[in-house]
Structure formats: C-alpha cells, structure tokens
C-alpha cells in the first residue's frame, strides 16, 4: 500500500515536472509580455474565451495546471524537510490539500467558462 501510494505521488511529480519544464517558460513569457503593456491577439477576451470554451483548450489547461500543482506540492513537501521541518505528515497533508483545492478550482472555473 505504502509503495503503491509513493509510486502514484511520484508519478504525478515526474509528469508535472516535465509539463512545467516544457510549458512554464512560455507561460511566464506571456505574463511578462502582458505586464509590459502588450496584449497579444490571442489573449483578447473573444479569442482566449473561444480557446477555453473548446474542449481541447479546456483539457490542455486542466492537465497543465493540475499536474503542475501536484508537482509543486510534492517538491514543496521535500523542501520543508530539507529546511529542517520534520513534521512530514502535517506538511504532506497541507501541501496536497492546497494542490487539491487548486485542481478543484481549475475544474470549477473551466466548467463555468
């Protein structure tokens, strides 16, 4: 049971790490472009709304955000340990709960769009 659980959590971590490595640089770059005062064509309301209404867009957004959240949660759990916090159960519950809340919020907002 313990081994099965570990494989599951680690699988999410690895998948999420790959997703973040591939997608986050371009995601951060988009935020940077917007912050500089430029709104690209595809981020105008009609276009981004059309993208997020489409089930392909919804699926892509959900997979990227949820896997990245679980990746970050698992790594943050280890970071707490590395910084000398030894309450692993409490830390694990807290970080996985935040990842779960983020996943549910993502699904909820995508459902509403």
């Amino acid at each position: 049971m313990a081994i099965a659980k570990k494989a599951f959590v680690w699988g999410l971590f690895a998948a999420g790490g790959t997703v973040t490595a591939f997608v986050f640089p371009v995601l951060i770059a988009l935020f940077l472009i917007v912050a500089l005062g430029i709104v690209p064509e595809g981020l105008r309301f009609e276009n981004i709304y059309a993208f997020a209404t489409n089930w392909v867009g919804k699926t892509a957004l959900f997979i990227v955000i949820s896997l990245s959240l679980w990746h970050a949660a698992h790594r943050l759990r280890v970071v707490f340990h590395d910084f000398g916090v030894r309450m692993d159960n409490a830390v694990a519950n807290a970080v996985y709960l935040v990842a779960l809340i983020g996943t549910v919020l993502t699904a909820f907002y995508l459902y509403k769009i």
Binding site: T20, L27, I65, Y109, K112
Partner: protein, 131 residues
C-alpha cells in the same frame, strides 16, 4: 568496551550551504514556489475569464505594472536555469532509452527535449498571436 561512534554535527537547516552541489540542488527545489505562484495566477486568470469580458480586461490591467515586469523577468530566467534546463539534463538519467544491447547516447535524448521544448514554445506563441 563501549563503542562511541563519531556523529558529525550537521545543521538541519543550513546543511546545503557547505557544498556547491547541495546549493544548486536547493536552488532547483525552490522552483516549486514559482510553479505554485504561476498556477494560482493562471487560476485567477481563469476566474476572471469565467466572469466575463470586463473582469478579464480588469485582470489584464491589474497585471500591467513595473513590479510584475521585474518579477516575471526574474522568474523567467530563474525558472529556465534551475528547472527547465536542469530537467532536460536529467531526462536521460530518468528515462534511459535502450536499443538492443546499447543505450541511446544521453545527448540525443537531451537534444530531443530541447527540440520539443522549442516546438511547444513556438506553438503557444503562435496560438496566442505573439508570432
């Protein structure tokens, strides 16, 4: 005849400062905080998108300031160095490709990752109308 093994004192909170490799490991591990920030920033964007055009435009306007420019620029460089490029470098260790008796050389796997990354980035830029 009591045995008294020597236990080297190691700080639980600053152990990674003793060695360059450990420091690099910690610099990589804390990228998870950036991932968390951008996940929730994107969720905030989705909430604004679900609320309608006015809220979406308000969200975009709220992101357009110098503080965010500096933060995103720093985050982009940090993330590329300590997460993205590190992850590609580790890929052949995590997923070695066996070809019969031999293994595919590491550099091919790493190059394939860079090519795929460039493709994904260009595709997203194309999709959002940046290029």
């Amino acid at each position: 005849m009591s045995r008294q093994p020597y236990v080297r004192p190691v700080s639980k909170t600053t152990w990674y400062m003793r060695n360059g490799r450990y420091r690099k490991y910690m610099l990589r591990e804390v990228t998870c905080l950036l991932v968390g920030v951008y996940c929730f920033l994107t969720i905030w964007a989705l909430a604004a998108l679900a609320a309608g055009a006015d809220t979406w435009n308000g969200f975009l306007a709220s992101q357009q300031n110098t503080v965010m420019v500096v933060f995103h620029a720093f985050a982009l460089v940090y993330f590329l160095i300590y997460q993205a490029f590190d992850w590609f470098k580790l890929a052949p260790k995590a997923m070695p490709v066996q070809l019969g008796e031999k293994k595919l050389p590491d550099r091919y796997i790493i190059i394939a990752h860079y090519v795929a990354w460039a493709f994904v980035s260009l595709f997203v830029f194309w999709l959002t109308g940046v290029i």
